[in-house]
């Protein structure tokens, strides 16, 4: 099932299956970093240890 989804993504992006998988990984990493930074910079991050370094 996951393989088929990745193949469909690869076809949409005109890249190989491996590249499509890499795209997904990098994108997930990017959005995770974005959410972390956004919560941190706006002070909304309840779960983010904002003052942990003090």
């Amino acid at each position: 099932m996951i393989k088929m989804k990745i193949r469909a993504l690869a076809e949409l992006c005109h890249v190989s299956d491996k590249e499509a998988f890499l795209y997904l990984l990098l994108s997930a990493a990017g959005w995770t970093y974005f959410v972390h930074q956004y919560l941190y910079s706006t002070g909304l991050g309840i779960a983010v240890p904002k003052y942990a370094s003090y």
């Binding site: 990017g30 974005f34 930074q37 956004y38």
Partner: protein
């Protein structure tokens, strides 16, 4: 980070309104994209927005004149190059901070090239281009600061428009995620790696080269080039993603340039839209008139160096790339090349070629991006001293 949040939010909102306009009303849709882009650039830099808008109108007038008169059609687009020179020389677009200033100046260079390409494409295909199309080509905000250099083909009816809307939005969000990784996360890793060697300055590429030995300078040079790639490629991914929200297919600009094993291969992987522009708009016309491929490629890259910025560093960049391509064209397939390849282990030869290519392109990029000639010379000096 908050700037990208605003950009994504505005694009989501803008694209939602865009999709509410019926597909048949193409002019209204394009007009909306042009107006949205204009107001976003206006909020960032008012002079840039008006200058870009004026250049869009100017290009459209050139296009109309070209439809009536063959001489305007052939030579009219060159007047855009004159406009670019005015933007490059005059300080009318100087912003308060150096990064923003560089962003706007590069934006000017990019959109002038896009308009030039739009005029040439329209002339070659004898197609009708409307005013709002010129505005979208000039001002579409995700590609405004740094390309890719694309014209009508990115904004005309594409395969992306035929896909379900949700697919386009999901693909766009995926591309933006990759862009955020490259643009924000990779620099964090690079600065962590470089911390033992240098103290990072607030301005990119400002490094105290005099305090470094040759090996450290070499490592920092590679890291700075990687940083430039992450920055540029990340930005392009975000532009492609934001374009997909509207159903535009912004072309890819990079194809793993760090895997290039020679300079020709590097230009098949790095800044693909500029590479295509150089080939079709500068190299081939020069080649047709001069009939000398080596001279043509050398001149084309020298000109592109000056297009980036009018200074000695970028002239060195252009001449350097041109010389490397000429050297490669001469050496590749020559008896000397064949003799070396037959004697040396293939993998070792590939490794050496890769190392030489990456080192040379990194050197030229870091040299060109130094804030001034003294800093560029200090960088070159630090590379050859104290190994």
């Amino acid at each position: 980070m908050l700037e990208i949040t605003t950009a994504i939010f505005l694009t989501l909102l803008g694209s939602a309104i865009y999709h509410l306009i019926p597909q048949a009303k193409v002019r209204l849709r394009m007009g909306w994209v042009a107006a949205l882009s204009f107001f976003i650039i206006l909020a960032h830099h008012p002079i840039a927005a008006f200058a870009a808008g004026a250049a869009g109108i100017f290009a459209w007038i050139l296009y109309l004149l070209g439809r009536r008169n063959g001489i305007w059609k052939k030579y009219g687009p060159f007047s855009l190059i004159a406009l670019l020179m005015v933007f490059s020389y005059e300080d009318i677009l100087v912003a308060t901070d150096p990064f923003s200033n560089a962003l706007v100046q590069f934006g000017m260079s990019f959109y002038i090239l896009r308009l030039y390409l739009a005029l040439r494409t329209a002339a070659a295909r004898d197609q009708r281009v409307r005013l709002e199309e010129f505005f979208v080509i000039a001002l579409f905000f995700p590609i405004f600061p740094a390309g890719p250099i694309c014209a009508q083909e990115a904004f005309s009816r594409s395969a992306a428009l035929d896909r379900p809307l949700l697919n386009n939005y999901l693909l766009g969000l995926m591309r933006i995620g990759i862009g955020i990784f490259a643009l924000y996360f990779v620099p964090t890793i690079i600065s962590f790696l470089a911390m033992p060697i240098i103290q990072w300055s607030s301005v990119l590429f400002v490094v105290d080269w005099a305090a470094m030995d040759g090996f450290s300078a070499y490592l920092v040079m590679l890291l700075l080039f990687l940083l430039l790639y992450a920055n540029f490629a990340g930005y392009t991914q975000i532009a492609i993603g934001l374009g997909l929200f509207f159903g535009f297919e912004i072309p890819e600009n990079f194809r793993y340039p760090f895997l290039a094993t020679n300079i020709q291969n590097f230009w098949q992987r790095w800044h693909l839209s500029l590479s295509k522009f150089i080939t079709t708009q500068i190299y081939l016309p020069l080649m047709l008139s001069l009939r000398k491929p080596r001279v043509s490629i050398f001149l084309a890259f020298a000109l592109v160096g000056m297009w980036h910025q009018v200074n000695i560093q970028y002239l060195v960049w252009g001449v350097g790339h041109g010389s490397m391509l000429v050297a490669y064209m001469t050496f590749n397939g020559s008896p000397l090349h064949k003799s070396i390849v037959s004697r040396v282990n293939a993998k070792l030869w590939m490794l050496l070629s890769w190392l030489l290519t990456i080192s040379m392109v990194s050197f030229l990029s870091v040299f060109a991006n130094q804030p001034g000639l003294p800093e560029a010379l200090a960088f070159a000096q630090s590379l050859v001293s104290g190994w």
